[in-house]
Symmetry: C2
């Protein structure tokens, strides 16, 4: 692996862009290859077997692109298929979006933590298991919120639709006395402000993209793999073109990004 | 083809069940094989190429199951891939969900018709073209309403979420003086009452499932293929299990239906 090789990032759609954007902000020298599996979106209500099949194919593609690290910027893929992804990645370091967040939550002062995520992530109990393993005293309350991904993918942020869906989900009885909430889907930081408002500022929202990218930095430092190029490249592969992806990727990375359709 | 062979019906998810339910009601002797491509749901924001690939695979599967007729109970598949589906079906009669509705609308007393559908259906202009071909005086106003399928698939019917999404979509300026509306997606009859309420009963909702099944009856009669068995069977194949599909299929067809997972 070479220092100036790209970092591979993947997700089912636009969600992983919240992580890619944070990589760009904190690591401006790094090149990124992003794979958005928009043909098979959303992953959140698919079976483990199906999620694993797609995730492994994407990992192999990113490995072929000579990525020096792979960020699984998708909670559903992480919670269902991380072992298979690591096997497919071989010697390439793999950073997932759950374990760094679980570490952070487990060792800071949280008592009762809420988690919202896709069905597949919640059903895997990946966050709960990871947090409990590190600190058994924390209470973790999980809720599947499957409508939030399509609301974001369809551009309904900051509308009565997002508000009523968020209000409905967050009025979940068991969330009454949580002190913090994990956005267990990389799409959700795109509606973070609306979530904070729904909780009237009383619940701390865990900043997952920042935590994940800090983990990535540490891994690259450890392996002496931080880039020193001054001209990073951003390449985006989509399994199917969607307007929402293209406009969001451009708003985060500029209009001149390279976009290519690539079937799995 | 034999009289008591099953009728094949397919859709990306639960939407086609509104058509299958109408087949069961009007043709109680008929056996049905339903294919729900829940692994690749939703079709509505995928490319023509992708939609055609899946639709053709499903058609070949239904042909192998010796179906005597195939109902494409998906507007997106109809509007993007009907020619390829017919080729794949060979001699088996294919009934789509657009042309019978277009015929009905074109020859009844409509002046300005609204259409709500998925992105892919709207972008194909299949309804508009079919209606205009038969009656060029009718005005057809089209609107893509992509959030309605996930709202229905996630069980948010009759909630503030469906209400705000429906209100937002139907307040579309060009819908102001329509006299009737086509629900251009087989999912939408599941929220027909809410749509009628949003229009305060002033807009006639076209009953697409009924029209489509009447077309099917006519085709089967013409070819002397109406079943005479008293023990119809209902078989459901899903490319991925989803709770919503299973519970809706059971509510329409009873708890003892046969359900099987089948990859494309």
């Amino acid at each position: 692996m070479k220092k100036n090789s790209p970092i591979g990032v993947f997700d089912s759609g636009v969600g992983g862009l919240t992580v890619a954007k944070e990589i760009k902000r904190l690591l401006p020298n790094e090149s990124i290859i992003y794979f958005g599996d928009t043909e098979h979106l959303p992953y959140g209500d698919k079976s483990k077997e199906t999620i694993t099949k797609y995730s492994v194919k994407i990992t192999r593609f990113l490995a072929k692109c000579k990525c020096k690290a792979i960020v699984v910027a998708c909670n559903t893929a992480t919670s269902n298929s991380i072992d298979e992804i690591k096997t497919a990645a071989g010697k390439i370091p793999v950073i997932d979006v759950i374990s760094p967040v679980a570490k952070k939550v487990a060792f800071e002062l949280h008592q009762k933590v809420g988690l919202i995520a896709t069905k597949a992530t919640v059903e895997s109990h990946a966050y709960k298991k990871s947090i409990k393993k590190l600190n058994k005293h924390i209470k973790v309350v999980e809720l599947a919120t499957p409508l939030l991904v399509p609301i974001i993918e369809e551009g309904f942020r900051n509308t009565p639709v997002s508000k009523s869906a968020i209000d409905t989900y967050l009025s979940y009885k068991k969330f009454e006395d949580i002190d913090s909430i994990i956005l267990g889907c990389t799409h959700y930081p795109l509606i973070q402000k609306e979530i904070e408002i729904a909780f009237k500022g009383k619940v701390k929202v865990v900043n997952s993209p920042l935590i994940v990218v800090n983990e990535l930095i540490q891994r690259l430092e450890n392996e002496n793999l931080l880039a020193d190029t001054a001209e990073p490249e951003y390449r985006f592969y989509l399994s199917d073109y969607t307007d929402n992806f293209i406009s969001l990727a451009r708003s985060f990375f500029g209009k001149s990004i390279s976009l290519e359709k690539k079937s799995l």
